[in-house]
């Protein structure tokens, strides 16, 4: 049985730029040009100031670890257990938290510094991933 990974839909009209940037090795988030508020999940309209003038910005690619869970009960063949899901808060925009996947049960501490890396899925799109900062 061939096990396919779950590829993200990279054609969504609100989010495709996130994956296009990842394929170029860049991490981006959406923000409002009028009020500077980060918008995540990204929306074309800023609910904070009402502007439609929103755009993608480059992020430094650093953050801090907000939460994590080690999955020990496998529920999908593409994700053998154990693995750990990390929730990382961007240093540039604390309103934005992104998910990362780490194999096994690595030693982690709340608020530890994290850095992005880019995982090209075999024959598929690229995902921004996270690991403890060097």
């Amino acid at each position: 049985m061939t096990i396919h990974p779950l590829f993200p839909n990279v054609t969504d009209r609100e989010t495709h730029e996130f994956f296009e940037a990842a394929a170029e090795g860049r991490l981006v988030f959406r923000a409002c040009n009028a009020c500077d508020h980060a918008l995540h999940p990204p929306t074309a309209h800023c609910p904070y100031c009402g502007a439609w003038d929103t755009a993608w910005r480059d992020a430094e690619g650093t953050g801090k670890l907000h939460a994590w869970t080690t999955v020990t009960h496998q529920i999908h063949p593409a994700f053998p257990a154990p693995y750990t899901l990390v929730v990382v808060e961007l240093d540039d925009a604390p309103e934005v938290r992104l998910i990362g996947h780490m194999d096994g049960a690595p030693p982690l501490v709340a608020d530890m510094p994290m850095e992005v890396w880019f995982q090209a899925l075999p024959n598929g799109p690229t995902l921004p991933q996270w690991r403890p900062a060097a």
Binding site: F7, N9, V10, P41, W68, V71, H76, V87, V96
Partner: protein
């Protein structure tokens, strides 16, 4: 949010007059339409009504049984109102709102609200371990493309992240989560139809059970069940002439958290306060609409997809302060002899998982005085719906 309590026209104007359910099982061996039909017929029989009285049917958005299919299977000839609400387990409480709206606006006189699922044998929520992944996930406004490709796949993993934050911020412990599991199990042990009726659970067994997604263990997760529940709602005035003592719907309210995020369940991880539920806002509105507060609630059926969701809702609805849900649960307050007995039939954790609808059936049983594990003197009951991404809630009251 509703600031003027007099603006709510529905207080005590409608009542649940009939309840029905199928057996809860791991494999019903039947279609979900067959289950829904049985539950609805039992609810009508309980009310002393017939299919000829029914003119409205409401359901959850994720139910595969439609109102018109159920009407066809029941033989309803006068269907003139139907509606869907949700998402998912948020639906049952909001269905009470749909029913009130239909009845008070004259669009229906007698409404069936139902939920039917083969949640174990056919459509398991959160993954079965059997399937092969679809190639492409998310998009089309779901925002799941930010989550599923990483292996964040289920409600259980999402609530595990929320539980971890609650532990980090407030010192909540595994034993406090376990107190919720044990209370629900004790109540199921006294409820003959509960799936876990014959299986006691000790704290040692809870703590030594296998981890599913840290910090949540096996017994932090609700059951997966096949089954259906249905209730019949009509005006309080008509209810007085029917077979059973009416149980009034005093108030109903939904609520969204102030840190709103597009998408479904997973974006909760990006809320600045991951453990602030929409239920907190729902509760603020609910108490005004119902004309009472948490101190006047005798019993509660709190949506227990996971033990942590009970602890978060004890805080959200004002039974204790933020961060004190764990000690509150561990104090014994939520047990049958406590100040706020919860999930008095065993709840989703130990009675069965009918996606919130069995909580409404249980509330009505208690307020009629006909529950298996009857709480003496129970006159008011809070029922809450699924806690993500928005909250929903109802206060039921025994008619005086």
């Amino acid at each position: 949010m509703l600031d003027d309590e007099t603006a709510f026209l529905g207080r005590d104007k409608c009542a649940v007059v009939g309840i029905g359910q199928t057996a809860f099982a791991r494999d019903s061996g039947r279609s979900v339409l067959s289950l829904a039909t049985e539950a609805a017929l039992k609810a009508l029989e309980d009310a002393g009504l017939t299919v000829d009285d029914v003119d409205g049917i409401v359901r959850a958005d994720v139910d595969t049984v439609t109102p018109y299919s159920l009407a066809a299977a029941l033989g309803v000839n006068n269907l003139s109102y139907w509606g869907d609400t949700g998402p998912g387990g948020v639906a049952p409480c909001m269905m009470m709102g749909l029913a009130i709206g239909a009845i008070l606006s004259g669009q229906a006189k007698t409404v069936i609200a139902f939920r039917s699922l083969n949640g174990r044998s056919e459509a398991r929520l959160g993954g079965s371990g059997q399937r092969v992944g679809a190639e492409t996930v998310g998009g089309f406004g779901t925002y799941d493309e930010y989550y599923l490709p990483y292996g964040l796949l289920s409600a259980g993993q999402t609530f595990a992240l929320m539980a971890q934050r609650h532990m980090l911020e407030y010192g909540t412990t595994a034993e406090q989560l376990g107190a919720v599991a044990l209370a629900c199990r004790e109540h199921a042990n006294l409820t003959p139809h509960a799936q876990m009726q014959s299986k006691p659970l000790t704290m040692d067994e809870y703590l030594s059970a296998r981890m599913i997604s840290t910090p949540l263990r096996l017994y932090d997760f609700c059951l997966e069940s096949d089954g259906a529940c249905a209730v019949v709602i009509t005006s309080a005035e008509r209810a007085r002439d029917l077979r059973k003592p009416p149980v009034l719907i005093s108030g109903v309210a939904g609520g969204a958290p102030p840190d709103r995020r597009a998408g479904m369940m997973f974006p909760v991880v990006t809320r600045q306060d991951m453990t602030d539920l929409g239920g907190r806002r729902a509760g603020e509105t609910l108490w005004k609409r119902a004309g009472l507060g948490p101190s006047e609630i005798d019993i509660a059926q709190l949506y227990d997809c996971f033990t942590i969701s009970v602890i978060l809702q004890l805080e959200a609805y004002g039974f204790c302060a933020k961060g004190e849900g764990g000690p509150f649960a561990a104090s014994g307050a939520i047990r049958r002899d406590g100040s706020l007995p919860i999930n008095t039939g065993g709840g989703h954790l130990s009675e069965g998982y009918v996606h919130g609808m069995n909580h409404i059936v249980q509330a009505v049983r208690q307020l009629r005085g006909e529950a298996d594990m009857q709480i003496a003197g129970a006159e008011t009951c809070l029922v809450t719906g699924g806690p993500l991404p928005v909250g929903s809630s109802v206060v039921f009251r025994k008619a005086s």
